[in-house]
């Protein structure tokens, strides 16, 4: 890997997102222990996250359900507004912009979604779906120019341009995902956020789409924020990996470093749980208990209830991300105190 001086394309500072479960006055009034109290329950989806995405890299975000990775993706792309914290694109703050002000950034940041069956409008032909963004963002482009661009982008994702008049339901899952990628590419973006783009596809098709994304990255110099739960994809495709648990960052490191030397107990458990071809039987690090809910999180480390190494400090205090000598950033008291070797 070449050593470049990379600038940060995306920077996320102290980002928080809370969803209120009880909205409106009546919902918050509850009967507890014989008294009437006002209680507001909140889901802490993203908790005080600091992250940077360097230009040209593929930053993979992994974690299990409830870890906040999808919420993070939607915050970065502007579909959700943060409850606290800041988001910067190429140095400029974008989380407080109005819809109009966001428009130029919309061209640079595009998103690919998980479900290829839902991310394309079933009532629009491919032609209409690709024409619309081009026309809306380039009102001066002539019809012919738009059609040329459409054909070029369709070919680059491996979909025959002559099929443009067809509707999404006439295509397979893999083809639909290609079309979704084509739609994102019509904007000539710099940055693509991919939210589990291949999870819904068959194994042999996953390889095709992954190759396509790799190719697009090399040809167009793209930067990716890649959300996934599939660690083998991360190992192959990712430059750096961020491991999340219940809305907090556990570990952030270069892919090689993370897989060779996982430090956070959750990362270790996660890696051990992935079934490998060479396994003769299931054997993994057992975690205590179940994944708790991200509602009204306790003050300490979110992983504490399942962690074998947890102590009193873990219950009370949230660990701060600290950098290790090999470049990995780990948020864990046990690692900091040297209790895990």
């Amino acid at each position: 890997m070449t050593d470049r001086i990379a600038t940060d394309l995306i920077e996320v500072e102290n980002l928080e997102k809370r969803f209120a479960l009880d909205e409106g006055f009546l919902e918050t009034v509850k009967f507890r222990h014989g008294k009437i109290v006002r209680e507001k329950r909140e889901v802490h989806a993203v908790n005080n996250v600091n992250l940077k995405v360097r230009k040209g890299e593929v930053l993979c975000v992994v974690g299990e359900s409830g870890c906040g990775k999808s919420t993070l993706a939607r915050l970065v792309v502007g579909l959700l507004k943060p409850s606290a914290g800041k988001i910067f694109y190429d140095g400029a703050r974008i989380d407080q912009l109005s819809q109009r002000e966001m428009l130029p950034y919309r061209r640079k940041m595009q998103m690919i979604f998980q479900n290829p069956y839902a991310s394309l409008n079933a009532r629009m032909s491919i032609e209409q779906a690709l024409y619309e963004p081009l026309h809306v963002h380039n009102p001066k482009m002539s019809r012919a120019e738009i059609y040329d661009k459409m054909a070029e982008v369709m070919q680059s994702v491996g979909v025959d341009p002559s099929w443009a008049k067809r509707y999404p339901h006439e295509f397979s899952g893999g083809q639909r995902q290609r079309i979704a990628i084509a739609r994102a590419l019509t904007m000539d973006p710099e940055f693509i956020i991919a939210d589990e783009p291949i999870s819904a596809l068959d194994v042999s098709i996953q390889a095709q789409v992954l190759n396509l994304m790799l190719e697009a990255k090399e040809q167009r110099g793209l930067t990716y924020l890649f959300i996934t739960h599939d660690l083998s994809v991360v190992q192959h495709f990712g430059t750096r990996v961020a491991v999340f648990y219940l809305g907090s960052l556990c570990e952030l490191a270069d892919t090689k470093t993370l897989f060779e030397n996982p430090k956070h107990p959750y990362t270790q458990a996660l890696l051990s749980a992935v079934p490998q071809l060479n396994d003769e039987k299931p054997s993994h690090i057992r975690l205590r208990g179940e994944i708790p809910t991200p509602i009204n999180l306790p003050p300490g480390c979110p992983f504490e209830s399942r962690c074998v190494h947890a102590n009193a400090r873990c219950v009370a205090e949230q660990p701060a991300p600290l950098q290790k000598p090999d470049g990995a950033i780990v948020a864990c008291h046990a690692v900091e105190e040297g209790r895990i070797e």
Binding site: R74, V77, G78, L79, Q99, M102, L103, R106, R107, M109, Q110, M111, F113, Q114, N115, A118, S119, L120, N121, A122, R123, M124, S125, E132, P133, V136, H137, W163, K165, R166, Y167, E170, F171, S172, Q175, A180, R183, M187
Partner: protein, 311 residues
């Protein structure tokens, strides 16, 4: 993967699930045929009606209360008999059905436009706007259409006087029935919009930088259309019945321009005195019309429900 878009729209429609199911469903086929007969006969009423019921010169009071042609004492030129004014019942019914259908369809069109717009806005924007609009809808729903219509029309009749009221009866009926029933549409569309809003293609549209108007009209609305078709058929039937009820009560179409409802009303007094056909025959056809519309609506609902017709 082989696609079917290379075929023309018509060929695709012919091969579609809807058409296939239709030709395998006797009830749907029969209903559509009967409905088509109704519609065509009303469209061609001026050509097929033996008399013009609006032309006072053609009405002879001496012909009143003649029974239908299969009974004794009838006059063969009045196939279904005559009413108390001497009008040919068949002709009166042809024109009357025409009025019923016009009112039904126009009122539903008005309901649809109002209801869809309000439902779209409430569903997409959400929040306070949604609450306010839906509370208005709820309040309106708690008033029965008929009750509101009676009050409004009675007041209008009192204000404008019978004469001018009768001239504008058609418009008034369309307006009243149209405005009374928009909550049905609004609720249905809002429910669909709420579901569609969560889908990823809406997120994709937002990420592509499209504004809310474009997303509402070009993306969400086309996907919310199926339930609209289903309730529209039922609403047309309801509108026809509402209009018939109002005319029956004397608040609808005047006797000179009768709809099926007012025909039924005018014959009511004569049921027990022997001239049953003045009420019964229009009554029968009204029921038949509403029945086939409802049956078609039921079939449409089943066929358009993706969970039911798969496999």
């Amino acid at each position: 993967m082989s696609g079917t878009s290379d075929l023309s729209r018509w060929t695709r429609f012919k091969r579609s699930n809807l058409v296939y199911d239709f030709f395998h469903n006797k009830v749907a086929m029969v209903s559509l045929v009967i409905f088509a007969v109704f519609v065509l006969s009303t469209v061609f009423a001026p050509l097929i009606a033996p008399f013009d019921p609006y032309d006072p010169l053609q009405i002879n009071i001496m012909n009143s209360e003649l029974p239908p042609s299969w009974q004794d004492g009838s006059d063969p030129q009045f196939v279904l008999g005559t009413d108390d004014q001497g009008r040919d019942l068949l002709s009166a019914m042809l024109y009357g059905t025409r009025i019923s259908l016009i009112i039904g369809i126009c009122a539903v069109a008005l309901q649809a436009v109002l209801g869809i717009s309000i439902g779209l806005i409430a569903g997409y924007i959400g929040g306070r706007t949604d609450s306010i609009l839906m509370r208005i809808a709820d309040i309106q729903l708690s008033f029965s259409t008929l009750m509101v219509a009676i009050i409004v029309l009675a007041v209008a009749k009192a204000i404008f006087g019978s004469q001018s009221f009768n001239e504008y009866a058609l418009f008034m009926l369309v307006l009243v029935i149209g405005i009374a029933e928009w909550p049905q549409y609004a609720r249905t569309v809002r429910a669909t919009v709420l579901a569609e809003k969560k889908k990823e293609y809406v997120d994709a549209a937002k990420v592509l930088g499209f504004g809310p108007m474009r997303i509402m009209l070009r993306h969400i609305l086309p996907n919310s259309v199926s339930p609209i078709f289903v309730i529209s058929t039922v609403q047309v039937a309801n509108a026809i019945i509402s209009e018939a009820s109002l005319s029956f009560l004397g608040l609808g179409m005047p006797v000179s321009q009768p709809s099926l409802g007012s025909l039924i009303a005018s014959g009511q007094a004569y049921i027990f005195s022997g001239s049953w056909w003045i009420t019964a025959i229009p009554g029968f056809f009204l029921v038949l019309l509403v029945l086939v519309i409802n049956l078609l609506g039921d079939w449409l609902r089943d066929v358009l429900n993706p969970k039911l017709y798969k496999g």
